[in-house]
Symmetry: none
Subunit: 226 residues, 2 copies
DNA sequence: CCGGATTTCGCCCCGCCGGGCGATGTGCCG
DNA sequence: CGGCACATCGCCCGGCGGGGCGAAATCCGG
């Protein structure tokens, strides 16, 4: 499955670094360096023209920094969306989080070895993600902090029958009993019975608390919606 | 900086796998294999006795699986807390998330190369974290989904006055109008007025939908609360 | 100093919600 | 076959929630 070589665009303001990266990458048979940019604006422009598979993007650059450039590139819905591998000297939290929000596929430090860089390029180009270990660590800590327990409220969720969970899920979407009845093809009274049991089993008072419970127990999760 | 060798405990129910891992790790000068466990219970017991620096833990094991064993080991507040590197054949979401919640430092697939394994052991032992690329990818996606924008505050939230936001926040915690009035030292009618405006401004029908909105707009977030 | 925004509160109305009690049918298990 | 859990629906009712209408008091900016 020797596919075509990965087309890479290098964006770094330091010519020496840029040269070194280009040399290392170009030496690989499965990697083609299709262009180099000295600032974020050039990176955006060249991405639009060369449509590389991956942009190796330094965070700190003049004119337009790596984050803004990434935002422009990945934020354009009609354009070509390459993978972006962020490159930085320090692993500052804000940069990491912002880059991840923007959709960057990876984040590696400049003190990484040549082998690390090459494997990072290949991995990110393939659609997977790669972070520097110390970065991953913070991401995990944050993850663990955000989603503390596992079987905490879930345990109580198991006390519900399938139908009851189904009703609760719809309640958690903001539907009224009548709307739920219509959607499930049931009598409104039946929905009330099911939901009444839900409130009783979970020791909740009203639907507002039920919605809270649904979110807290991850039965439903926040996400981009209308 | 040649510190003492990393003391590793191997936990895997398949003797052959266990042997292979032990052989690979023991061949390294900076790694000592101090023990082997064939199931989760043994892993917990041996960890308490040998206090290794790192436990290489298979997810699927008899008696007590890797997740439960990890929970026991890391959940014990008084005991010794080693790093835990999870090992699995498949990268199932549930396993990953649960392991991360429990505090596992890393997660690698059994199809990783020997070099990957060794670097994973060294990285996790040093306190950093490491995940298989495909796992990292999902973690990032989840992260991006949970924390959508940077300057998040839903535009519509800005249409609310300070007091209205305050009331909405309490509604989103499951409080009734009466309870909110008591907490804010107001008449119940006042709370109804404020909340009525909230529903009107945000084009919502009832408090259930308001709770949904609060979570979706990140006015409140899922997490541990009193 | 006047007008708009905000906060506060009262009264009335009625619809939906939540709870209690009962009933029927179905499938499963010992 | 006799329970048991689950799903389905009905009736009744008290209360909280949501909406309309009005009205003070405060603050702030033009």
């Amino acid at each position: 499955m020797t596919a075509a070589a990965v087309r890479v665009l290098i964006a770094d303001d330091q010519a020496m670094v840029r040269g070194a990266l280009a040399a290392v990458l170009a030496a690989q048979s499965d990697i083609d360096v299709v262009g180099e940019a000295a600032d974020g604006e050039q990176a955006v422009r060249l991405t639009g023209r060369l449509h590389p598979d991956l942009v190796l993007m330094d965070v700190r650059m003049p004119v337009l920094d790596g984050l803004q450039a990434t935002a422009r590139i990945l934020g354009d819905p009609r354009g070509h969306r390459p993978r972006v591998l962020m490159l930085t000297t320090f692993d500052l939290d804000d940069y990491v989080y912002e880059a991840l929000r923007l959709g960057a596929g990876g984040f590696i430090l400049k003190d990484a070895t040549t082998d690390d860089l090459l494997s990072a390029v290949r991995i990110v180009a393939s659609g997977d993600a790669l972070l520097a270990p110390s970065v991953t660590r913070r991401l995990i800590e944050d993850f663990a902090r955000t989603r503390p327990a596992g079987p905490r409220p879930s345990a109580r969720l198991n006390a519900l029958t399938e139908r009851e969970r189904e009703v609760l899920t719809l309640v958690a979407r903001g539907l009224s009993n009548r709307e739920i009845a219509a959607r499930l093809v049931l009598a409104e009274q039946t929905v009330k019975t099911h939901f009444g049991r839900v409130l009783s089993k979970l020791d909740l008072r009203d639907r507002a608390q039920a919605v809270v419970f649904a979110y807290e127990s991850a039965l439903v999760a926040p996400g981009p919606r209308a």
